[in-house]
Amino acid sequence: MFSFREKSLWVSLLVTVIIASIYADNIYHALIAGDAVRPQESAALILRVVVSFIIIEVVLHLALAMDNQRGAGEKEDERERGYRLVGTNAAYWVLAIGVISCIVQQVINHYTPMESSSAFIRYALAPIELKLLTIFWIAEMVRFTTELYLYRAQS
């Protein structure tokens, strides 16, 4: 019933949601505790998250390809390409708005230092790389869900 590409999108969405949740949980607890996140810690967290994401994606896609070898070998057709472009466009806007907001916020933080009185402000004061990765996860989820919505709505 589902094409190989649609199954692949479901797998990617699932992996992204799980990995992003683990990432968000780590960040949230560090920020709630009021700990200053050091560059080494954030770099280690990003590395762990990205490496796990790549490994899980590769393993699950290999399993998917072995299960459906013909589908895995098929080229993307015009309908799938159209959905991918719509999904990528939606994700682009999330990424662009997120990155610009992040830069604006860094500038505000620089000129008007804030007290870390609430969790929200603590998040605002988190290192920029952690916020950028959060925006990336959100953009990825928007891309996958937009494509999956189109697959489901037009099948």
């Binding site: 590409r5 015009e78 309908r79 799938e80 037009q154 099948s155």
Partner: protein, 58 residues
């Protein structure tokens, strides 16, 4: 025509996935002119005999 050929066989001859053929049959997806011409050629029929344009109801 549908009885003579499977969706998979048509998809392979046209160069799209079976799910795309299903979506076209259900009227959920409008193919490009290129794919429409290929489908018509597979059936050996003129384009207007295979595809009809319906005005969207307002």
């Amino acid at each position: 025509m549908a009885d003579e050929m499977t969706q998979q066989a048509l998809a392979e001859r046209v160069g799209v996935t079976r799910q795309t053929i299903m979506a076209i049959e259900k009227g959920k997806y409008s193919p490009s002119l290129e794919v429409a011409f290929k489908i018509a050629r597979v059936f050996g029929k003129p384009l207007e005999e295979v595809f009809q344009y319906k005005e969207a109801s307002r």
